[in-house]
Amino acid sequence: MFMVDGWIVDQGEAVPIAGPAETLCWQDHATELSISTLTAACPTVGYRLRISNLAVDILPPSRIIVRPTLGLAQNTIDHFLADQVFPRLLAHSEKFVIHAGAVRIANAAVVMMGASGRGKSTLVASFDQAGLTMLGDDAMVISSLDTVPAVRSVYPSLRLFPDSIDAVMPGAVTAGPVSHYTVKERIDVAVNGAVANLPVPIHALFDLACASSNGEIVIRRLAPAQACMALVESSFALDPSDTIQARRRLDDASALARAVPAFEISYPRDYARLPEVRQAILDQVSALAPA
């Protein structure tokens, strides 16, 4: 399983009910994810992330305690750590982490961000099947490479819904559902193996809009302020109520939006149209100055 350097993961007792030392600071009603602070946990503030039958404590500077209810499948624990805990942990350690996928086009990365369900994984899988290199499909770390914004995946992965697998990667070997709370399945593909976690300069950002209703594929340039807001919305945070971290995310998003051209793409969510969508993106990217 993917790990974050310097952190040790232990298993602890389940805590099915919030205790007095647990103060709720944020809740996502769509996913039932909640984040609480643990005031008496350690010398510095700790955090507890919860979904229905799993709690994970993050106790700086280096301990993570996984607290599953009895019988919870290991794939659910692994998925929750990779999908929620590690990206937020990295974000808390002053990395700018966004919910996005990315592919390598020529020698640069094209980043595709957007809310859950917008089709990031399907689109990057489609590029992968067309022979381009997929860098990741879910959480990406933004850094600087010789002063140029660069991106790498938090963890190399590809998770797709079964219908996307049938349409985009027919016959792919899957490792089963990634967890009990989603029907997405993990695909065991080589995600650019050895170089997956090396930063790649970013050539362009694409924000996946809602599906177009008229069947058209439309790309429009985003003003830097619009790109900045899309990046803020896509960013991970361990404690969304932490105002210092929020200010830093705004600064990071602003710097990236100033440095990299950003576009919104709207397209029909029709698997048969994916080659056209890819070509529209490739045409747009090739019209830009080299990265």
Partner: protein, 92 residues
Amino acid sequence: MTDILQRCLTPSPDAATSAVGGETVILHLVNGTYYGLDPVGTRIWSMIGDGVATPDICRRLAEEYGVELATIEEDARRFLTDLEAQGILVDG
């Protein structure tokens, strides 16, 4: 109720701003809402930050953009009300 153009408004201490390509993004650090200002909104925000009284802001914009004062006031009223509703502007 007092017309918002007659009130003294100031940026909330919970509002973080970032200048992005002639425009401005404002993030409310506590409730997480964010707001994008176009160049005109950025100009208004700048004057509010400088402590310019709201009626003077409208007069200056009318001069700068050659637009009737009544039109500017109507747009400014809507804009400031929106920012106040988001908690980005507070009474000064």
